[in-house]
Every structure is written in structure tokens, then in C-alpha cells.
Point group: C2
Chain length 333, copies 2
């Protein structure tokens, strides 16, 4: 059997309680003799005592673990977020359990269940489009959690999102101010909520720049087959509106595929368009250094959500629900 408080106590002829107190740093506080403290501590070290956190948590009624649920672990966006969470959690001695929902509502539901069974102290969730019911449930149980990258308008819960609408507005406005007259929007049908905000920003910018919104200038690419779909969609777009001189991509992979399209078709995109994108990648930096973008600092969103969550956990019952909107850095070129 491994070394435990009990085994140490027996060896040393002390009580378990004594050993427990001393090893959890309450030695002096409780007035144990310097000798005993020394003895216990050094013995524990010698035999390599390692507290059993399961037992501690069971006894104390709470763990030092956080659950993070994201749609996909390998997606750079979410893995950066996970990094932010892990780092901030570690700072406070928490450990992160990471699970992937694959954007599947059923799976998400099961995962939340599992994490609750694991007795995580709180949950951070990057929700799918259909998470509302699970969230409602959590809220009803008063379980501490925070939503990231999305919130649910009808529900009062913690959330951290980016200023999608404003970022988009600024980027598109920038394209017009640099001389563009006809800016198209290339977006996609997933992550409806976020994409909706970005589209709103685009629309507002178009109008504020003295133009009218034309449906023909909006391309909605099907996410599941975006690599093929974007090709036909762009074909249609450019044949219908050949004088487009500006492009706004609501997300990085659309911009990448568009560039791939231009290269394939031999289109001189550097000179034909002014372009802007939410989020940037290495590929884009190299292929289109003239592209303006919003620099989404994904790690921050993770760190911030941990801060809020831990605050909630601390406050226990009477916590304040927080909603924060993180501002992206604009890189206007």
C-alpha cells in the first residue's frame, strides 16, 4: 500500500489528525511543537508522501478541477482557447479536464453529465448551436459555468465573447475608406450566432459608408464542404458582379480558400481587391500581406472565462453573473 496519512501516523506514533494538520501547513497555527512539525514534515518528504486529492475533495466537498467543453480540440481556435484556460487554471492550482463535443448536441449533453459526475468545480463551455436546453439545466441547478465565444440572449449567464460586430464594422469601413466601392461578404453557415454578428457589422458598415446592401454581394458557404462549395459560389459571385473591388471574410479559412481559388484561376488578387478578414493565419500573412484583419486574441478569452468562473466558485451562492465583450485589435492595412 502507498504511503498515507495513516501510515505516517503509525510510523511516528502520532494521530492521523496531527499529521494531517501539519502536512497541510497548519502546524504552527494550531500550536504544534516545532519538533513534531519538523519530524512529520521531514518524514513525509523522506517517504515521498503524496496527498490523495480524491479523498481530500470528497471530504471537503469540492475539487480543484475545471471542465472545458469545446467543439474540436485540434482546431487552432479552440486549442488556443484551451491554452488560455489551462494556464489561468494552473495559476490557481486548478487542473483542466478537456473534452470535445464535436459540435454534437447529444454528445455535449453526455459530456456535461460526465464532467459533473467527476465533480468539476465549474464548467467552461464553447456551445454548439443547439445547447440551449443543457445550459438552462445548468442554470437551474445553479452550477457555476461560463459560456465562451457565444451567449444565449434569453438566458442570464456568464459569458465571454469578442466584439464581433464592431470589429467587422471597422474592417469593412476601412475597405471603403481606402477607396473600395463594392465590398462582398464571404461568410459561412456554421456558428450562426457569431457569424450573424459579423454580418451585422458588415451591413452597418456598408450603409454607413453610403451604399446599399445587395443580397448578391453576400456569399454563404456551406461549412461541411467549404473547400468545394466556395469555388462554385465565387464563380457565381464574380460572374454576377464583376466589378467587386472589396472582400470581407468572416473567418480565416474562407479567406484561405478564396486565395487558393484566385491562385488556381490566375486572378491577380493583390491588385484587384482590397481584402479584410476576421482572424489571420500564417498562410494568409504570407499569401496576402495586404489583408487587413482583426487579431482575435483567443487565449485571452480562455483566461478571462477562468477568472469569472473562479470568482463564481468563490462567491458560492451570491455570485454576480458577468458578461464580457473582449475587444479585438484591428490591423488596418
Amino acid at each position: 500500500m502507498a504511503v498515507s496519512l495513516k501510515s505516517i501516523a503509525e510510523e511516528l506514533g502520532l494521530s492521523i489528525a496531527t499529521v494531517s494538520w501539519i502536512l497541510s501547513g497548519q502546524g504552527e497555527e494550531r500550536g504544534f511543537s516545532a519538533a513534531t512539525i519538523k519530524l512529520v514534515k521531514s518524514y513525509a518528504k523522506k517517504v515521498g508522501y503524496r496527498p490523495n486529492l480524491l479523498a481530500r475533495s470528497l471530504s471537503k466537498g469540492h475539487t480543484k478541477t475545471l471542465g472545458l467543453i469545446i467543439p474540436s480540440i485540434s482546431d487552432p481556435f479552440y486549442s488556443q482557447m484551451a491554452k488560455g484556460v489551462e494556464e489561468k487554471a494552473a495559476e490557481s492550482g486548478y487542473v483542466m479536464i478537456l473534452v470535445s463535443s464535436e459540435g454534437d448536441e447529444k454528445k455535449e449533453r453526455r459530456l456535461i453529465q460526465t464532467l459533473l459526475e467527476q465533480q468539476v468545480a465549474g464548467l467552461i463551455i464553447a456551445p454548439t448551436n443547439k445547447s440551449d436546453n443543457v445550459i438552462r439545466q445548468l442554470l437551474k441547478e445553479k452550477y457555476p459555468f461560463v459560456l465562451v465565444d457565444r451567449y444565449i440572449p434569453e438566458l442570464v449567464s456568464n459569458y465571454v465573447i469578442f466584439d464581433n460586430e464592431d470589429s467587422s464594422y471597422d474592417l469593412v469601413t476601412h475597405l471603403y475608406s481606402k477607396g473600395s466601392r463594392k465590398v462582398a461578404l464571404i461568410t459561412t453557415d456554421t456558428h450562426l450566432f457569431i457569424m450573424g454578428m459579423r454580418r451585422d457589422g458588415y451591413r452597418r458598415a456598408v450603409v454607413d459608408s453610403g451604399n446599399v446592401c445587395i443580397d448578391d454581394l453576400v456569399v454563404e458557404v456551406n461549412r461541411d464542404s467549404y473547400q468545394e462549395d466556395i469555388i462554385s459560389k465565387l464563380d457565381v459571385l464574380f460572374s454576377r458582379e464583376p466589378d467587386i473591388d472589396g472582400l470581407f471574410f468572416t473567418t480565416h479559412y474562407l479567406a484561405e480558400e478564396a486565395i487558393r481559388y484566385f491562385i488556381t484561376k490566375g486572378i491577380d488578387y493583390h491588385n484587384r481587391f482590397r481584402m479584410a478578414s476576421m482572424h489571420i493565419t500564417k498562410a494568409l500573412e504570407m499569401l496576402a500581406p495586404e489583408m487587413s484583419y482583426a487579431d482575435i486574441h483567443v487565449e485571452r478569452i480562455g483566461g478571462m472565462s477562468v477568472e469569472i468562473l473562479l470568482r463564481n466558485i468563490q462567491e458560492k451562492d451570491n455570485f454576480v453573473t458577468e458578461g464580457v465583450i473582449l475587444s479585438n485589435k484591428r490591423v488596418l492595412i
Copy 2:
């Protein structure tokens, strides 16, 4: 108070044991009446019973959690690995605790400690260059773990790595067979073990192709400042050996930076060199479709390590130590 076996037992006027057995699916097996089983199950469902895994684990003496230690969560290489681990773990009802060592030996040591305190059933470690002692310790304690992407020659432990040497050999051989006469090696100083294997593959290929290895053809870029360092190093390389007609990059980001260099300097790399790289990225695919590469399927390494680990955990004491070398797909263009 939350609903527990006890609260259910009291409500139903049964014993805790009865409820425990039935809810853990041993109802019929132990011969409880269909009526009681029905009763307990439906009542548990109604009140939303959720087993406390802490208590279960404490009682059973083992958890259903795995610990994964990687140098960096946001690095696509490791996040893909994490994905492989999480998926495979989930299949067996395990949950993954993910921590980041930042390539820091001290931190790695602390993290392992923490994970052991959390009573993880086993550990998967992507080691830093100086992890040997910690590993030795684990081995001595007979704690189940597997090393990924690296192994320690003197130690008998589980590990999963790629066929770095062979992949490199094939890639470089391919460059020669397509007509290159002078192939340079662009590598870096981190991850010494892996990079060493890749370099060995390069050397063997050079020799087997009837050439001699020249030190001047080997560029070692400093990892911490690789974006700047590679520039001066390449300057030197090309001024000293202007007739280089082949390039082998031991990792993707070096290839990317080299391309950036070529673009900046206006060098027509498409026609001047034959190139090959271990690992590919979207940026490379688009910027240099003519590049040959080894398609490192990182997820597999994660999944495989979980399989081995779970086997070890099952076998308890008399497990077999496994070392597996995963073969990369070569894409020779």
C-alpha cells in the same frame, strides 16, 4: 444536499447497498425483484441521480482519468495529439486531464506530481529534453505511463514514435532520384532526439545516393529566434554553396520561414530547388505545392498511446512494455 445513494435509499425505504447494486447495473445479476429494480431505477432517474465519481474511485482504488503532459497546448502538433488521446480515452470511458509543461523540466516535474495526486490511472508524456529523471522515478514506482514522440534509449518504457529516420531517408532519396545533386539540410536545435533521427536519415540518404556529407550543407537554426535566425543562416548557406538544388526541412515551420525568405528576396524557389519537408501545413500546400513531405498523422500517435496505456492499466502488475514506431505516409511529388 444533492441526491445520493443514501438519500434515494431513505426515500425508498431500501438499503444503500441495494440501491448501489441496482444503479450500477448489477440488479438482475444479484437477483433483485424486477419490481425493486424498476422502482429504484425510475426514482433515480426522476430525481436526477448523478454518481459521485470521487467517492467511487476512492472506494474502488482507481479512477477513470488519464493525464496528458505536452510542451504546448496551442501548438497544432500537440493539440492534434491531444485530440487523438481524448477521443480514444473517451471511447473507454476515460477522461483526459491536459497540462502543459512549456518544455520546462521543473514544471513538468511538478505537473506529474499534481497528476499523481489527482490519482490519474496513467500518464502520457511528450517529454522535454531533460525528462530522464522524472521518467526514471515513474518507472521505479511502477506507475503506468507511455512516452510519445520520443523515447529514452537507456530506459525500458512504453513509447510511441514516428519512423523519423526512415521518412527522412525516403524524402531525401527522392530528391536525389528526381535529379538533385546537392541537397542541404535545414534543421533546428530543439527536440534534439527527434531532430537527430531526421538528420541521420538525411545523412544516410546523401551517402546512399553516392554523395558525401558536407557540414556546410547543414543549417541549424536556433529555435527561440528562428524567424530571424534562419535569414542570416540562409544568407550564409547560399553565398557559400550557391549551387544548392535541393532542400530538406526537418520540420514545417522551417519550411515556411524559408519560403517567406525566398519571397522576400524574390528568389524563384519553384524552379531553383527540389524541396521536401517533414510535416506539411496549409500555408506550405498553397505556397509550394511541389514540395514532397511525410504526412505525420499526429492523432494516431495519441490514440495509440492510449491503447497501450489502457492495456498496461488492465494488466496491472505483469504488463508488457511496448515500443511502437508509427510509419508516416510519404507524399513524393
